[in-house]
Symmetry: D2
Subunit: 295 residues, 4 copies
């Protein structure tokens, strides 16, 4: 397939490479052009702007940092919505608001284009290794048609139904669940450590019994060792996703006290200079609160 | 071995049966005598009081509801501490405070008895099926000696070191972690449901990706279906364990905002008539807050 | 002075009347025209649109529900920014975001107009009685010039400096402080009531000793009697102001756990059907949580 | 009257002096005897133990740090309960649990003694100046009889009824209300400061409008200036009272999310080395969280 790809950050870059590897023809665009140029030797065409990346393709992937960046690429003169052909499909892989996903679905429908929301779970390593989990929602026939693309970037695709926004609901809520694990482990480790039990020992028992899941194993090890490396997902992006969850909670009138609590952890982390850290570093706020780490 | 067993509730009863099944000679005591009588046909001797259950045994198991119940069986004239032989070992399997565990360690030491803290993870079904996880801490040689007993009741034993209280720290903190999962799923399900995504669908995706652990699978299904049956662990016991965690946090000066949040959920559940429910029913407070369930 | 006035809701209506009473010539606009027509017999000219209300006046008051409503009146073709004369002053009395206040300051400056942020404290009764507190910030000479207007609507004006947005910071933070009082009294009354002390008795003692301030006396009485009447300030407006406070907290990296807690109270109130109530009705969530009121 | 007085800390010392000043004959006891000796030159008799201080008096005041200290003075051989005469009255001025107050009422009744709970509001300066507020509950005729004593130590006495524990409910809940003010101001000041508004300016406006109450004026000034002096009430005592409020909430099934939040502030303050500070220093946790103060 002829595929446009906008957004070649740490996630998008791996995804685009895997699409090329799978034999698709890519036209890529990235605001910082050098990231796009890196893909030229692999056979990608480098577009000069979002509109060019959308022009003449069967499918257009977008993988951008937030609502604003995506809106900027899609809407307005010379942007992707204008140049995408009727019948082509926009695959929105970014973690964006449910509201924007709804707006995109409507805008593409009006242009007789298609829209699939297909956010992904997985960190940059998973994107590079084509091990992402894809959460797709949108018109069935379009999802069928794009199955080959999802297979190229992920280990498994979950299909949610015709309402694209449902995929964004799942992605945002899933990210919220991850943050509850970060926070709950941080508090637990602070407690066991000050009670003379090694966090790693506690973690080993938990993951060997009731908590034997990747999110506990991987993030648990980072937090137990207090080594918040590598920076797979920057803390301000975590704050952004938290904000999107809280906004969804407000729109649907759902109180989310845990998300509120985690919001304050993220803000404390920002205020205390952790904005370049991995989002798991919100655990340091629990440690600092407990006097286990000086600021 | 000759084993005393005090406390034949939904957990203790299964554990005692499995000890008998493994060939040990049991002397059992329960405040409500009928529970003890049920074990007589299996070969157990029924003691008239805690002191009798401790008298002449190699090891004394206790599996009681709370600190108060355990103190009542151990301390005071005619109680277990008095009648347990020097050299015998008390295996405390109850979920009790770290402070009481320390007090027990000291009291038994003074009597030249031994003390192992060996709280367990698992619900009554697991106790009946000898599938518990045992978290043991205490003198190494005693743990070695009791290994055969742990093997009779559980699927795996984790050994933590010489300081008995460490096992209680792990148990309490583990229970806290479970409650964070209950609450985080409750909030998540309320959010997805009011965003037109089926909770079960969301859960299926989560457990198939990052959250593939028993605690999410089992409790997740109960909460997604809003069927808080069977009552494996009553809500007031959850509140009690939450209190013990918060007390430990106070003694060690560790702020635990998630535990505080969950405390208020438990209290709301109590105030709203859920005191006979399984502790997972604290999820109903999230649903009620979000207007998804009328009181 | 010749004064334009946009926004004749329960607050603006009283303010406009008091300006007329003080002898100023008013041109008024309200989206629902009937509210504007009510002022015609008092001598006001009724404008057909925001632009007309701003045209030819010395000062333009705006008193609208939120950022969106204000932006809609100010920006765009035919709106107030376009028709306000150079040298004239916009007095923004609405409770809006700090960000919009900054944007207004810049937009007016560019047009050689002036901008004063002058949000007010007080409920509709106070607006009707010219008993508001005015918090004004902006260019000193403009504030001096408008002093006569502030005196017509309020009992006292506090002047904050040249940076208009500072007045909005104070107004939003002040509203946050009020909500902390609503919530703290709700929790306190639930606690004393279930401990067999009458809330009113408790309140009487508190206000006679350390808490002898209007916010405790007035709201306290409403909450103690569980009579959330009259509806001086609707609950969704309280939620909006809470959101603006949280946004300011995010922009400045200040965790605000109390504001987060109150956010969840507002959302629970919305979900439970209290959207037409006075904002003090968030207290009912505490009563319901404590089982003191059925939903 | 002949008055026993146990507990001559920063509060009790001022109260006892004022009782002497009013012409009463005092027998005083304090664990650290030097504090008691200071009153001898004023005419007080120094007792060697609590029992002696209670022996032969008409009324016995107790003003101790916590439940434990009070229980230690009252119960047990040679303690006050034993030596207090039938018909004499125990005036419990300490801030203690509702449960202990109930236990005291019952114990004294059995001994045909009387019991009044009479906790006070006010800091050491107020105690020294006889400006306390006394919250009294107990048998009416006893309160009438002791009125002269309350007048000697306070500026006003509030009488709550026959159930002594009600006074403790009010005292604890009142202290909780004070902590909500400490926390809400701390968050507010952090927010305005990072939004370029001086905390003191914000405070001046608040106290001149809706928040003109001593608790905002006095504590507000301390927090705005970040001068947590003098130490009128030590932080660990604030944590203790918070614990008593939370316990009361648990016993009556009342969720208290603000009290939970404040608990975590107190614990963070303890963990971060503020245990010798005035309780208003929990505000520093908000400042530290917001990056306004390095640890």
């Amino acid at each position: 397939m002829k595929v446009g790809f906008i957004g070649l950050g740490s996630m998008g870059s791996g995804m685009a490479r895997n699409l090329i590897k799978a034999g698709h023809n890519l036209v890529v665009f990235n605001r910082t052009r050098s990231k796009a140029e890196e893909l030229r030797p692999l056979g990608a065409i480098v577009a000069a702007n979002p509109g060019e990346a959308a022009s003449g393709v069967d499918a257009l992937f977008t993988m951008l940092a937030d609502d604003h960046a995506l809106e900027d690429c899609i809407f307005g003169p010379g942007r992707a919505l204008e140049s995408l052909a009727a019948g082509a499909v926009h695959i929105g892989a970014s973690t964006i608001s449910v509201a924007l996903s709804r707006r995109l679905a409507a805008a593409h429908r009006e242009k007789k284009q298609h829209y699939i929301a297909a956010p992904v779970f997985g960190r940059p390593e998973a994107a590079a290794a084509a091990k992402l989990f894809v959460i797709a929602a949108g018109p069935h026939e379009q999802i069928d048609r794009c199955k080959v693309l999802f297979d190229a970037i992920g280990q498994k695709t979950f299909i949610l139904g015709e309402d694209a926004a449902a995929a964004n609901v799942v992605k945002l809520t899933g990210n919220f669940l991850i943050t509850t694990v970060l926070e709950s482990m941080a508090e637990s480790f602070a407690l066991v450590q000050k009670s003379d039990v090694e966090p790693q020992k506690f973690l080993d028992i938990m993951t060997a019994t009731l908590f034997g899941a990747p999110v506990y194993q991987n993030y648990g090890a980072m937090i137990a060792k207090q080594q918040f490396q590598p920076v797979g997902f920057k803390l301000p992006l975590g704050l952004k996703d938290n904000r999107l969850v809280l906004e969804l909670g407000e729109q649907t009138a759902v109180p989310l006290p845990m998300a509120s609590l985690i919001r304050d952890r993220f803000l404390a982390a920002m205020a205390q200079g952790l904005s370049e850290s991995d989002w798991s570093a919100i655990a340091r706020i629990s440690f600092r609160s407990a006097g286990l780490e000086k600021v």
